[in-house]
Amino acid sequence: MKIIVCMKQVPAAATASIDPLTKTIVRTGRNAVTNPFDLHALQAALDIRKQAEGTVTAITMGIPAAEKVLRDAIARGANDGAILSDRAFAGSDTLATSYALSLGVEKLGGADLIVCGKMAVDGDTAQIGPELAQHLGIPHVSDVCEILEAAEDHLVVRREWDDAEQEVYLPLPALITVAKGKNLPQLPTIGGMLRGRAAEIAVYTAEALQADVARCGLKGSPTQVVRTFTPPVRGQAQAVEGNEQQQAEKLAMIIQEVLYGKD
């Protein structure tokens, strides 16, 4: 079975900043980490590879420094990696990103199974997986928390939602997005890290993918950020002063007042 895992480098939360001009996230690669959900996606792919013989290829779109997530994926057990990197991809929203990824998948000769993380923690949209599946014209199941069965031509997966738990029979080729479920991402081994460091990472530009540049990057992104602003504040909060004991005493009175009125 040929498996492709989509991974994303995200800024560590506290260090993110916004470009004042394009109002998109500044991506420097410094302080960047692999999106946590993507590690669960990778682990799911590795677990499936154990049951149904095959290969796992990690793919990402990003600045050249983002190849770090691919080397890390190889260190954790992926067979190889490919990065889609081009200035033409900068500023992509989910439509432009999923379009580029769909070309990447085709460039790699397609896949029986594509695995994405449930969402990336920088955008929180959870849209790339479903949009990619649509571009490729294959079915998908979002928020998978357990692979119950992995065969050559199908998967049986389980997902848990707020209000329901489902088991779905999914014929391949297909795409799944993986939530933090039962799988526990394994740490890289020493041998894996050496393989990751030495690996040849394939780099594909927009031209190599024969991408329609009108569908790439900022230009190919229908959503535009009109403005960013700080949310309105409530007005000055009333400070409750004193040491913790005194604060607690005053707080007890405030709570009584709020809940039961002033008397």
Binding site: A13, A16, I18, K23, I25, T94, L95, D122, D124, T125, A126, Q127, I128, G129, P130, E131, A133, Q134, H135, P139, H140, V141, S142, D143, E160, W161, D162, D163, A164, E165, Q166, E167, V168, Y169, L170, P171, A174, P222, T223, Q224, V225, V226, R227, T228, F229, T230, P231, R234, A237, Q238, A239, V240, E244, Q247, A248, L251, I254, I255, V258, L259
Partner: protein, 328 residues
């Protein structure tokens, strides 16, 4: 179907089991104003079986027409067949705006529709409005990095698509309606490739979005064992425990207690925030709280900007003293 006009505002109204989910009605309530401001008809879209009395309820919630598309492919509520059906409808009737509740299913299938129609989709909006000069939909959501909100629009492609979390918007007051039946549009495609093998309803505990008193914990709570204090205070006040996203990510608290953009929106009479710094994603979920008490060691924590009472101190120590105080 000459009754159905192009360029309308559509609200996808999800059916779960044999009931319409409230988020569809909440969206219709808001969409009614948006539709009036921009002179668009407002349609409620139901896929699969529409519940008894559903069309009337949607009409009373603001829809000018209720459109229902059903067929053999809609038997299993899965991403691909539902997306394909909505794509077919949208291609035929060209909506100008398409709103979807950001339920797990809405978030899972709506992106397919956006990709197929080559349009943008803004996830988890907390506010929707119409830009006066252009009539475009302004979609506001928390932005990543910095304590910022972003307003987004889709200027060049149609429909303009956005999802909104359940509970962010109020339920509309039911109004008079003449609608009794939906306009039925048969969907004759064969069933999708994926099959639902089993579905078990999960019975939720009391819903935090309805809770009147919430004691919420964030990373400042320190160790997991300190959550006992939070629970004890909630019990004493007859409220529920809420949590910020980091605590849920760390496995300290269940998702059902998560407050914020990717969790639940809450509107309690009293919200006590213990060790929550107040990331903009979290603040997006507490806009409806009437009184907010915040306890945090950092006097610059953004949570204080939305608090009525500010306690600069260690929440664990304050909670310990407070519990003793309330026992007196």
């Amino acid at each position: 179907m000459e009754k159905i006009k192009n360029g309308a505002l559509w609200v996808f109204c999800e059916v779960q089991g044999d009931a319409l989910l409230p988020v569809g009605l909440q969206l219709l309530g808001r969409a009614k104003t948006l539709a009036a401001e921009s002179n668009r008809p407002l349609y409620a879209i139901v896929l699969g079986k529409i519940p008894q009395g559903g069309a009337e309820l949607l009409g009373a919630s603001g829809a000018d027409e209720v459109i229902c598309s059903d067929g053999p492919a809609m038997k299993d509520k899965l991403e691909q067949p539902y997306a394909d059906c909505l794509i077919a409808l949208a291609k035929q009737y060209q909506p100008d705006i398409l709103l979807v509740g950001a339920t797990p299913f809405g978030r899972a299938f709506a992106p397919r529709v956006a990709a197929a129609l080559g349009t943008g989709l803004t996830a988890d909006c907390t506010e929707l409005s119409i830009e006066e000069e252009s009539g475009l939909l302004l979609q506001t959501r928390p932005a990543f990095g910095g304590n910022m909100m972003a307003t987004i629009k889709t200027a060049t492609q149609r429909p303009q698509m956005a999802t909104v979390r359940p509970g962010v918007l109020p339920l509309p007051e039911p109004a008079e309606t003449t609608i009794r039946e939906p306009i039925m549009i048969p969907y004759n495609e064969a069933a999708g490739l994926a099959r639902l093998l089993k579905e078990t309803a999960i019975t939720k505990g009391a819903d935090i979005s309805q809770s009147k008193i919430i004691v919420a914990a964030g990373r400042g709570i320190g160790q997991k064992k300190n959550l006992k204090l939070v629970q004890a205070l909630a019990d004493k006040l007859g409220g529920q425990v809420g949590a910020s996203r980091p605590l849920v990510d760390m496995g300290f608290c269940p998702y059902s207690s998560q407050i914020g953009q990717t969790g639940y929106s809450v509107a309690p009479d009293l919200l006590i925030c213990c060790g929550i710094s107040g990331a903009v994603q979290h603040l997006a979920g507490i806009g409806g709280a009437k009184k907010v008490i915040a306890i945090n060691t950092d006097p610059k924590a953004p949570i204080f900007a939305v608090a009525d009472y500010q306690i600069v101190g260690d929440c664990v120590t304050v909670l310990e003293h407070l519990l003793q105080e309330l026992d007196k």
